[in-house]
Symmetry: none
Subunit: 290 residues, 2 copies
DNA sequence: CAATCCATGCAACAAATGTTTCATGGTCGA
DNA sequence: TCGACCATGAAACATTTGTTGCATGGATTG
């Protein structure tokens, strides 16, 4: 038999799963679903919880190419090892090539992003959320790669404030919306270096019209951050790679939405529930299986 | 003696550390620094690596108030369990009101997201990137809140592979694209609970057509993950709040793009540079000052 | 200086672990 | 229908696990 290219034990398991005997499939699914317990608890413990025979675990491991459960579990624990102390990162740093160089790159990147998240100031987010809560209407603008952030924010806010949240440029050219800002409304602009002209134009329009400006940016000196009422900073360049990191911006956006929702109290909750009910009625989602 | 408030076993360990015998301090520091290995490997193994006596571990555990090493390890294991709420969210939940409640919510959320990022397995991402690199064409699908992830991925990949990357449903109804998948092409599907019918349909179409399926999902048992060639897992429910977290998915998407780019070598680099040059010529961006 | 205490390594212990073997029951093909 | 085959559970196996008792050696105290 030709040995397939080595990969994550979990995916090995998953691809071999359909061709296995029924009981081993059950056990295999259990392992895949509880892989953390698989690495930490004992075989007999797992067997008891899965309602299966201990021997089934050994057999499963052998069926997918390991010498036994012990070896499978060792592979799982290595695969689950947190990125900060990853097995190869130390060695791989010496030689920047080879099969592990890619893994090292991913590990570095995730590690840097996690560190960047911890440096995001929390207080400004809470304050901005209050501003959003008080706003009669919320506009959201973001261009190019920042558009994903803007759309996410738009999506989540609309879940519980559907009529009052709107993407800039959603229903026509941006310029039409730029004149529609009013005092008492809030405008969120997302952007980082290099800054698009479009986002700067939005910021200037907000300034002119007297609306409240919330900037999500990578620097205090960003064009859309100047004169903003709330500036929420994240680190776009903190991680290796060739694109600015957006994880910080996404985390800010989601925190912002979460706090705004929590400020909304029972009214927001009711709104969210009715939205969810409508989506369920339209059978947008696959029903959960027991 | 008054028992201090129960907290993480690691912090219990740290505060008790200075008052311990020298050898137990060594061992304690070793455990604190390698707590992942402490939960997965055996006491004797750790002793060998730390250059200490196995018994020292039992003694250490007893010295800080546990019945033995086994109980200490169980506590460490529980503390490390993924998908749990942030360590100090318990405290924040106590006082859910007051002016700082919002800030606490944000801090909890960011902290949890950062922890979640570290638990993302790196290896599958590197493998999936290789699959993308080898693919003749790349399709990307994501619906509702996951659309932002899909669009970001689409944006970044198109920076250096413009003709070969495409959003499913970008140029018409989804159904047209579903029949266009071919073997040798790759399709990325992003989704988490609750899963949309649309994303599942895409996954099924991929399966039918023999293309390579890369799933970015929150669970191995997600409908689009079954039968996928690569499954990239993130924790959507790891952070407090009312909405699944997308930071993990974004981080995965960006890592995926970064590695794929790095695999592309000089050709990808040239492509990226020419794209940037075109954007600059169209004066999309505000020129940098200073 | 002597007596004591305590930290520390070693070795033996019982318990629990992963593995293997064997008997059983079911399924498929001739 | 019979035979071969395989999946499956129960029990026995050797190994490894965490623990504890004991001897040693250095530090502390009177």
């Amino acid at each position: 038999m030709v040995e397939p290219a080595k990969s994550s034990p979990l995916s090995e398991l998953r691809i071999a799963l359909p061709s296995l005997p029924m009981r081993l499939q059950e056990v295999g699914r259990f392992v895949a679903a509880n892989d953390y317990d698989a690495t930490t608890r004992s075989m007999r413990d797992l067997a008891a919880e899965a309602g299966a025979d201990p021997a089934a675990f050994t057999r499963l491991a052998k069926a997918i190419g390991y010498s036994g459960w012990e070896e499978l579990r060792a592979a799982l624990t290595e695969a689950r090892r947190p990125s900060q102390t990853a097995p190869f990162s130390g060695r791989a740093k010496g030689r920047r090539h080879g099969p592990n160089a890619d893994v090292a790159l991913v590990i570095d990147k995730l590690q840097a992003e996690a560190a960047g998240l911890r440096r995001i100031p929390a207080q400004p987010i809470a304050e901005a959320a209050r501003a959003l809560h008080d706003a009669k209407r919320i506009w959201i603008a973001g261009y190019r790669s920042c558009r994903s952030v803007a759309e996410l924010l738009n999506y989540e806010l609309r879940l519980f404030r559907p009529e009052q949240v709107q993407l800039v440029g959603a229903s026509g050219p941006d310029d039409l919306d730029l004149g529609a800002f009013r005092p008492g409304e809030a405008v969120i602009v997302v952007g980082f270096l290099p800054y698009t002209h479009a986002s700067v134009r939005v910021a200037q329009a907000v300034y002119r019209t007297g609306a409240t400006l919330v900037a999500i940016a990578d620097s205090l000196s960003a064009p859309m951050a100047e004169g903003a009422d709330h500036v929420l900073l994240f680190e776009a360049a903190s991680s290796p790679g060739f694109f600015p990191s957006l994880t910080g911006a996404i985390a800010i956006a989601q925190s912002l939405a979460a706090v705004t929702f929590s400020l909304g109290g029972v009214a927001a909750k009711k709104r969210l529930e009715s939205t969810e009910a409508r989506l369920a009625a339209a059978s947008t989602y696959v029903p959960e299986k027991g």
